[in-house]
């Protein structure tokens, strides 16, 4: 072993570089939260490895894509590789989000690491781009309809929406051209961008060193005579003085990577990767529903209707993205400790709560339309008939009963308690509110049982 190492070293002389890398001092208090960055990198590597393997048996054409996925799932280890690719993709979105959050709370985006944040923000969008384009490739129902909705959301952009939409789809329609484009973007454009940006990101991390944990009071008493760079260097040198060599923190990274891998391999072996029926552009009863990490955006679309919608939606998405990218230039100042940045921390809490809340609502409210309210014990025959009408008419698309169904209309869990039979009858047949279509075509017998059912909800 030593002889091989010496042989290589006489030619490449890498040992000093490796030693310098491993032995350099980094600030103290490098805890488990700091493993989020390396965990994100680890999952990216997992994605590249499994993705390359999948590309060997995948064909990006509507004629063959779905069958090639079935073939992959039948090949030894195929479903595991595809499962790991699927589950670690979701985990990657979560971890890159947590990593970003950690960096922001620690104030690690501050001087002199602004550029590292900018590149990191780019990586965040690349990961979302991977998720969005990867979706379509299996060419199953979920893939097809999520892409219909996704490209139409992008197409809602003011002025340039049409161009964006046709750029993504490769034309007006969604078909063979779209699939080939998404594949090209997924396996070439995004990975190439990823490689470049990860390189710059890591270069920045190593050149500037890991940001020290925020302190309420600096180690070195501030000297107003010093330049910003000199003051920073002095403080960072003191942090490193109090710190440990880089290699001391590597085991934590490895443990986290091992746990994550175990988790996705377990899911892949136990569950495989989900696959709907083959994409059917003519199905009329499919309820499009995105992966969990896009549910928050999907849910937002409930709240903005009318002509202003594209502007509002795009305003939120675009302005949100721009603010996110520009964080290091908006959140400046000396104090990095979260307790000294109450406004920034408050806003962060609001955003995080909003994302979690919208995702939760999206998960609870969809799939609307096909949700069937189950019968409960003790219901009379008339109530059961009414429930059947309720389910058959798709009322759950907008109304929720005991947690099942949409949220456009009022919840009906206590309908019989809140409204009289007559009021409900009027509302169903001739709604006052424009949002509800008039169900005036219901046969009287069905309407009668429906009202009996609704009346029983108390």
């Amino acid at each position: 072993m030593h002889r091989v190492q010496r042989w290589i070293d006489e030619r490449l002389n890498v040992t000093p570089i490796v030693r310098a890398f491993l032995d350099r001092k980094v600030p103290g208090n490098i805890g488990w939260a700091h493993t989020l960055g390396s965990a994100t990198l680890f999952l990216l590597i997992v994605q590249v490895a499994t993705g390359i393997a999948l590309s060997m048996s995948y064909v990006p054409s509507p004629d063959h894509a779905y069958d090639s996925i079935l073939f992959i799932d039948q090949t030894p280890f195929g479903s595991v590789v595809r499962g790991v690719h699927h589950w670690s993709a979701g985990l990657l979105v979560l971890l890159i989000g947590l990593h970003t959050l950690r960096v922001f709370i620690w104030g690690a985006h501050r001087y002199p690491r602004e550029l590292t944040w900018l590149v990191g923000a780019g990586l965040f969008f690349i990961v979302l781009g991977f998720a969005f384009t990867g979706y379509l490739l299996p060419w199953d129902q979920k893939a097809y309809w999520a892409t219909v909705v996704g490209t139409n959301v992008a197409g809602s952009a003011p002025v340039i929406g049409g161009s964006i939409l046709e750029f993504l789809r490769g034309g007006e329609q969604l078909g063979a051209v779209t699939l080939a484009r998404f594949y090209g973007i997924h396996v070439w454009v995004l990975p190439a961008s990823l490689l470049i940006l990860v390189g710059i990101h890591l270069f920045g991390v190593i050149r500037q060193g890991i940001a020290a944990s925020p302190r309420r009071r600096p180690l070195v008493a501030p000297d107003p005579g010093l330049s910003r760079r000199a003051a920073y260097d002095l403080e960072y040198a003191a942090e490193k003085q109090a710190g440990d060599p880089f290699w001391t923190s590597l085991v934590k990274d490895a443990i986290v990577a091992a746990v994550l891998l175990a988790f996705v391999v377990f899911l892949a072996v136990a569950q495989g990767a989900p696959l709907d029926g083959q994409a059917n552009p003519n199905s009329t009863d499919y309820v499009p529903r995105p992966e969990w990490y896009f549910l928050d955006m999907f849910q937002l679309l409930w709240y903005f209707t009318g002509g202003l919608e594209p502007l509002l939606i795009f305003g939120i998405f675009t302005v949100g993205a721009v603010i996110f990218i520009l964080v290091p230039f908006l959140d400046r100042g000396q104090a990095r400790h979260p307790r000294q940045r109450p406004i920034a921390m408050g806003l962060t809490a609001v955003v995080v709560a909003g994302i979690i809340g919208l995702t939760w609502l999206g998960a609870a409210g969809t799939p609307a339309g096909v949700v069937k309210i189950p019968a409960t014990a003790g219901m009379t025959q008339a109530q059961l008939d009414g429930l059947a009408v309720f389910n058959a008419q798709g009322c759950t698309a907008c109304h929720e009963i005991n947690g099942l169904g949409g949220h456009t209309g009022p919840g009906l869990s206590k309908a019989g308690f809140r409204w009289s039979r007559e009021d409900m009858k009027t509302q169903i047949q001739t709604p006052k509110d424009q949002k509800m279509p008039a169900y005036d075509g219901l046969p009287p017998a069905e309407l009668d049982t429906l009202l009996t059912y609704l009346e029983s909800l108390k």
Binding site: T15, T151, G162, R169, Q208, P288, W302, A368
Partner: protein, 199 residues
């Protein structure tokens, strides 16, 4: 492993050193000139490469005929055909009752030119007048179904619904359902391309 200890070198940036070791005098102007020539040449090479590559990739974007999705037919993912396709006889459809039919059309999807099944909603308005809709919500393209109870096309995504005439009843859809051009020859009904907005 060699016995001697290699000193730990700093990897972090010593910013002040970046500007050192820059040549001076005629050497300096020659150096500047060379770097400038290299930059210009490199830029030209990159541009020559980038124009066809980026142009090819983005062609569908700048070729797009429709400036804005809301005004375009692009909201429907449906594969397009440039031909007239028979969808049956007028008598096949009951007045006022939408009927979902799947017809085979000769579609063009990039390099794919083939006969493909295309779903349509056919509404016979009066004895002679047949209107054919694309069954996708004009909000985000989710699939519409006809609800007999509501007498409306309903969308499962965000609660949009449309009358049998295609007009919006509720929800976020910004415009009526997309219609196909139709023509009747004898008692046979044909569909063509989508009716452009405002037509």
């Amino acid at each position: 492993m060699t016995e001697q200890e290699t000193p730990v070198t700093e990897l972090e940036a010593p910013v002040a050193e970046l500007d050192q070791q820059v040549p001076t005098g005629s050497e300096s102007s020659r150096r500047k000139f060379m770097i400038r020539v290299m930059t210009i040449l490199g830029g030209a090479i990159a541009a020559v490469l980038a124009i066809p590559v980026v142009g090819f990739i983005t062609a569908p974007g700048w070729q797009s005929k429709t400036p804005h999705k809301l005004l375009s037919t692009s909201v429907a993912p449906t594969l397009r055909s440039n031909e007239w396709t028979s969808i049956g006889k007028v008598a096949d459809f009951e007045v006022g009752v939408p009927k979902y039919v799947v017809v085979d059309r000769n579609i063009v999807d990039g390099w794919v030119v083939e006969s493909a099944p295309i779903g349509i909603q056919v509404v016979r308005m009066t004895d002679a007048d047949v209107v054919v809709f694309d069954p996708h919500c004009t909000h985000l393209g989710c699939p519409l179904t006809w609800s007999t109870g509501a007498e409306a096309f309903v969308c499962p995504c965000h609660g949009g619904s449309f009358k049998s005439t295609g007009e919006v009843v509720s929800g976020p859809p910004p415009r009526p359902m997309l219609r196909y051009e139709t023509k009747t020859e004898g008692d046979e009904v044909f569909i063509g391309t989508f009716v452009a907005e405002g037509a």
